[in-house]
């Protein structure tokens, strides 16, 4: 979030534009729009053309890492999973997913690190490190064009509800809820930027403001900081619950990874 946008957050709340209660509800399926649809023609063209989409650089790095042996096991991801185009197809579209050992949902970065540590016997990759982003982008690329497919059962429902509760809860010094912007005012603008419906269809994605690839958690931390709320550390259960809710809320929308956003 730019300083200008942060000031505008403040100005908006001071102007009491958001006085109505945050309970208008989720965006109906027929009205759901990806962030892509709010972008300029130039930024869309950048996403659409793999040869000009900078996210391609991470996808290619991820492909190389997929085949590289690592850790005390001296095994590569491909030694167990084979060709990612087959084995990882549609996998990212159902994450965060329930991890029986942890008895809670984990996001794709955490799932990949579980294989790094548990199967490859290698140290975990740091959140937002180039290698973890590259592997995540490569695995998620195998879901591009496929619909998000989160199924909720008795084990995951409490975490979905926690994420939903966080989305509708006013927080931070600005005392705003995610839903007030992303459900109730998604057609509006903030500091000239479209607010959008906050569908996580393109992560990890290349954000022009970041000048690099970043995860959904990085984006969420950005919005939380914008609310002047204290953010959660990467991998925190609160963030994964929010991710689960956002992915579930976008069920049926097509994956775009690696997307580009302003």
């Amino acid at each position: 979030m730019t300083a200008r946008a942060a000031r505008l957050f403040l100005a908006l709340s001071a102007a009491r534009l958001f006085v109505e209660p945050a309970a208008a509800g989720e965006v109906p399926l027929s009205e759901r729009r990806s962030g892509y649809e709010f972008m300029s023609r130039e930024t869309r063209a950048m996403q659409d053309d793999d040869t000009g989409n900078p996210g391609t650089l991470w996808v290619l790095d991820g492909e190389a890492l997929w085949k590289r042996k690592a850790g005390a096991s001296d095994r590569a991801c491909s030694d167990c999973h084979g060709d990612a185009r087959e084995s990882m197809k549609a996998v990212a579209a159902r994450y965060p997913a329930f991890d029986p050992a942890l008895r809670r949902p984990v996001n794709l970065e955490q799932r990949i690190n579980a294989c790094r540590v548990g199967r490859q016997k290698a140290p975990a990759l740091a959140y937002e490190s180039r290698d973890l982003l590259a592997l995540t982008a490569y695995v998620t690329r195998q879901s591009r064009g496929l619909p998000i497919n989160i199924t909720i059962d008795a084990r995951t429902r409490p975490f979905l509800e926690a994420g939903r509760e966080a989305f509708f809860r006013r927080q931070g010094q600005l005392n705003l809820a995610c839903a007030q912007c992303h459900d109730d005012h998604w057609s509006g603008k903030l500091a000239g930027s479209p607010i959008t419906q906050a569908h996580p269809t393109g992560y990890p994605l290349y954000r022009l403001e970041w000048q690099g690839l970043g995860s959904l958690e990085r984006r969420l931390r950005g919005c939380l900081t914008g609310l002047r709320a204290e953010s959660y550390p990467y991998g925190a259960p609160e963030l994964v619950d929010l991710e689960l809710y956002l992915m579930w809320r976008a069920n049926g929308m097509r994956m775009e990874t690696p997307a580009v956003r302003p």
Binding site: G52, P54, L57
Partner: protein, 106 residues
Amino acid sequence: MARAVVTVPAQAKRGEIIEIKTLAAHAMETGFRRTQLGELIPRDIIRRFTCTYNGVEVYRVDLHPAVAANPLIAFTTTATETGTLSFQWVGDNGYSVTEIAAIRVE
């Protein structure tokens, strides 16, 4: 990883104008930014990009600190003969990447 990607048509007609696209992974650190403690972050940019076609230079750019990270450089040239296009990026701190692509011209 010092990665670069080039996109060149695999074949073309003699005399045809072809589009070439290149993408290089690079932070393009301007040298003007400071850390939160006020220390200057040293400049680290790509300084020059060149493309040669069968050994003849057909395109060259000098890059400066205002260029965004991961620069996309797209340009056109005339397909003259079958052979090799060679691309080179060089920059601060010993950065140097070379990529080659074959083209068939008939």
